[in-house]
């Protein structure tokens, strides 16, 4: 078994574009769930409207790249408003169900044959980020010794981590402001905040929009890193994997989602590489595990891991148990 390549692939994945996308998505969820206590299960929807807003603007309607980015942000803003109005006054599980349903509606609509002139059906849209890659200062591979990125990946890597850093800085400064303290107190006791004369609905809406914007950034990075949007990339699972990353690092902590995403992707790629090479060299007999089955083991472990995390250590690595909004109904 080639431990060296398994390890270096895992490192590349943990620091590369995959982890960046999940870190941004999880930062958004951190604003929703970690700080405000909102259970948004539709982060995939925010990512999808942003990514398709960009892709369709450029590839279908021929608009400039930056206009596409603006349209993507606008679409995510609109989605947050549409979702927030009916659900933010209700109990946590209603928001969860409504957001997961709308993410699913969006995925079906973007993949539908009827609208394939706009969104490309199940093939999606490609080649809309040339403007982004034209700005690439790297002309050759970026070598880190243990692993290396292609010139395009290196550019995504640079811009991506810059955005993650910027997002963390924004979350850090917002959450120590009076505005952020109101969000945290909404998480702890909504009625107390209301009795202080704060408009809880408005604060929750602002939090939903802010987190949705980070989700939009994640959608942009996912679309740009592969120059392609396809509906299956925005399935419900991506939301739950982002939740796993967030809970792993620690909800309600500025760096929690980032560390979580790095560890999540390291483990995913490491386990994927380990089991597929174990199955292919017949360390595990083919009857027990074929190559296809080997690629599923890591997802089984993610499910079991999420359960174990929530049961035994809901605060994750860095979080504070008392600050996690998991007891309310």
């Amino acid at each position: 078994m080639d431990w060296g390549s398994i390890f270096s692939n895992a490192m590349a994945s943990a620091l590369g574009p995959d982890a960046i996308v999940y870190a941004l998505a999880a930062i958004g969820l951190n604003v929703h769930f970690g700080y405000t206590g909102l259970l948004n299960f539709g982060q995939a929807g925010f990512m999808a409207v942003a990514a398709y807003g960009l892709a369709a603007s450029v590839a279908t309607w021929g608009l400039p790249f930056w206009v596409g980015i603006a349209i993507g942000f606008g679409a995510a803003l609109l989605l947050a408003l549409l979702l927030g109005v009916p659900t933010l006054r209700l109990r946590a599980d209603y928001l969860a169900i409504a957001t997961i349903a709308s993410a699913e509606i969006l995925r079906l609509v973007f993949g539908s044959v009827t609208l394939s002139d706009w969104f490309g059906g199940s093939n999606g849209r490609q080649q809309f980020a040339n403007t982004f890659y034209d700005m690439n200062p790297y002309s050759s591979r970026l070598d880190f010794g243990l692993f290396s990125f292609s010139a395009n990946d290196a550019w995504v890597f640079t811009v991506g981590w810059f955005l993650v850093a910027l997002s963390c800085l924004a979350v850090w400064s917002l959450m120590r402001s009076p505005w952020g303290r109101v969000l945290k107190s909404i998480r702890e006791d909504e009625d107390a905040v209301r009795s202080l004369g704060k408009n809880v609905f408005s604060y929750k809406m602002q939090a939903l929009i802010l987190g949705g914007m980070f989700g939009a950034l994640a959608g942009f990075m996912l679309a740009i890193k592969q120059q392609s949007v396809i509906p299956t990339d925005y399935a419900t699972d991506i939301t739950f994997f982002a939740y796993t990353a967030l809970l792993l690092g620690g909800a309600g902590r500025v760096l929690g989602p980032v560390i979580g995403a790095i560890i999540f992707w390291f483990l995913m790629t490491f386990l994927g590489g380990f089991f597929s090479s174990a199955a292919s060299i017949d360390l595990i007999p083919d009857v027990v595990m074929s190559d296809i089955q080997a690629s599923l083991v890591r997802f089984i472990l993610v499910g079991a891991g999420l359960m174990a995390l929530m049961i035994f250590r809901p605060q994750g690595i860095f979080g504070d148990r008392r600050e996690i909004a998991i007891d309310g109904r």
């Binding site: 209603y94 409504a98 539908s112 089984i300 359960m307 929530m310 007891d327």
Partner: protein, 425 residues
């Protein structure tokens, strides 16, 4: 070899095509027309001979052919590109007619070598020529059938929610459990579908008990919050779904019996016998559970726990025992929904996951935690799903109106049709 298989299927489309001998030259489109109406899976259908097929591109006709005794026509094409395959409907046998969107034309994009499959579903002439009212009624009846299947699952979800407050995101996987276990009994052990179905419901009940004892009761004892339990159920769903795919594989498979049946005409609508059986079984199961909830001691205890667990406990009710029974009954009902879905359609590792949001929509529409509400909501959702294509919603989007209603109901009446105001805030 470039081949296009045009395949006729009765009623529902999508039975597997006959193996295609690769005798054609490099660039040709091969068309096979097989009428599979009224055949069980495994049997090959009846070839449809003497049907004229035409292949054309932008500049005009490229080639013509007539299906032979085996229902096959091979038409050479000049190269890769986009072609239109047309079936001359006048040459079809008297009692057959093409159904489905697009009529007698299909566009085939020949981009790579390999089998390109295009389906021309063949239906009874009467059904295909049916008017709007008849389609609407057929859609409504399918909707009632789908609604009853959803209703079984929704009842299970609603009972568990009512007594424990848990919004169970792994409920879809409990439906899949029923489908996979019935497949295992039927195809693995060779049992007839009916017996396999009965055993599956028993196994599902056991699965519910094991889950409650092994997972949910210990969590309640630890004082785990409801949001935490919801996230645990998401992890459980991911876990189960991938275990299913690990064991069962990613393919869609069908049971050994009742796969495709000739529809029987009943006035303006036509139904396969299995569809009537599915509706009858689901209806009886739902009626029995509702009657039990209304009249038996356990049923009353269940409603008491749902109403106020603390009060029920202090009145001497064994709350944990009641919740255990609710899990057993709820999971058994959900397993039955999986069995019926497997008989109605096919078995796949995501079959329940795809229905989960419809089940959520049903219980939310009817009112979370209410039994009658769950049933009304399921009917509305089932009928919306099946009728919306008739009213012009594209078939691939037929789930979306029901999901939109889920969001809209939260705007106007968040407690659902029958829910109580106090539960929502």
């Amino acid at each position: 070899m470039l081949g296009a298989i045009l395949l006729g299927a009765g009623g529902a489309y999508g039975t597997s095509p006959a193996a295609l001998p690769s005798e054609s030259s490099d660039n040709s489109i091969t068309v096979v027309l097989i009428d599979t109406r009224g055949t069980e899976a495994g049997e090959s259908g009846k070839p449809v001979p003497d049907v004229d097929i035409e292949v054309s591109d932008d500049s005009g006709t490229v080639g013509e052919g007539t299906t032979d005794e085996e229902g096959r026509a091979s038409i050479p094409i000049p190269g890769l590109g986009s072609y239109t395959v047309t079936v001359d409907e006048d040459t079809l046998p008297e009692d057959t007619q093409l159904s489905g969107e697009g009529g007698n034309e299909r566009t085939v994009n020949v981009v790579i070598s390999g089998d390109m499959r295009v389906q021309f579903p063949i239906a009874d002439e009467r059904a295909a020529g049916a008017g709007f009212v008849s389609k609407l009624m057929t859609g409504a009846v399918s909707g009632v059938k789908f609604g009853l299947i959803i209703g079984l699952a929704a009842l299970g979800l609603s009972m568990v929610f009512g007594t424990t407050g848990l919004t169970n995101f792994s409920h879809g996987e409990l439906i899949t459990f029923g489908g996979l276990v019935v497949y295992g009994f039927n195809r693995g052990l060779g049992l007839p579908v009916v017996l396999a179905g009965i055993l599956t419901v028993i196994v599902s009940a056991g699965f519910g008990w094991v889950q409650e004892r092994g997972l949910w009761r210990p969590l309640r004892r630890r004082g785990t919050g409801l949001v935490a339990m919801m996230i645990v159920s998401i992890g459980f769903a991911l876990f189960l779904r991938n275990v299913y795919q690990y064991v069962f594989g990613g393919n869609t498979k069908s049971l050994s019996q009742y796969v495709s049946q000739q529809r029987v005409s009943l006035g303006p609508i036509s139904l396969a016998p299995k569809e009537m059986a599915i509706m009858a079984i689901a209806f009886v199961a739902i009626a029995l559970v509702c009657a039990a909830l209304m009249t038996t001691r356990l049923g009353k205890a269940t409603r008491a726990v749902a109403d106020n667990p603390a009060l029920a406990s202090s009145s001497g009710l064994r709350v944990d025992g009641v919740i255990g029974s609710v899990w057993i009954v709820g999971t058994a009902l959900t397993g039955l929904a999986g069995v019926l879905l497997a008989v109605d359609q096919q078995v796949e590792f995501q079959m329940g996951f795809k229905m989960l949001l419809l089940v959520f929509a049903s219980v939310t529409l009817g009112g979370l935690g209410t039994v009658w509400g769950a049933l009304i909501g399921s009917m509305v959702v089932g009928i919306m799903v099946e009728v919306s294509p008739v009213l012009g919603v594209p078939a691939e989007l037929k789930y979306t109106p029901a999901l939109l209603v889920l969001i809209l109901i939260l705007l106007v009446r968040p407690q659902g049709i029958l829910g109580r105001r106090e539960r929502i805030g």
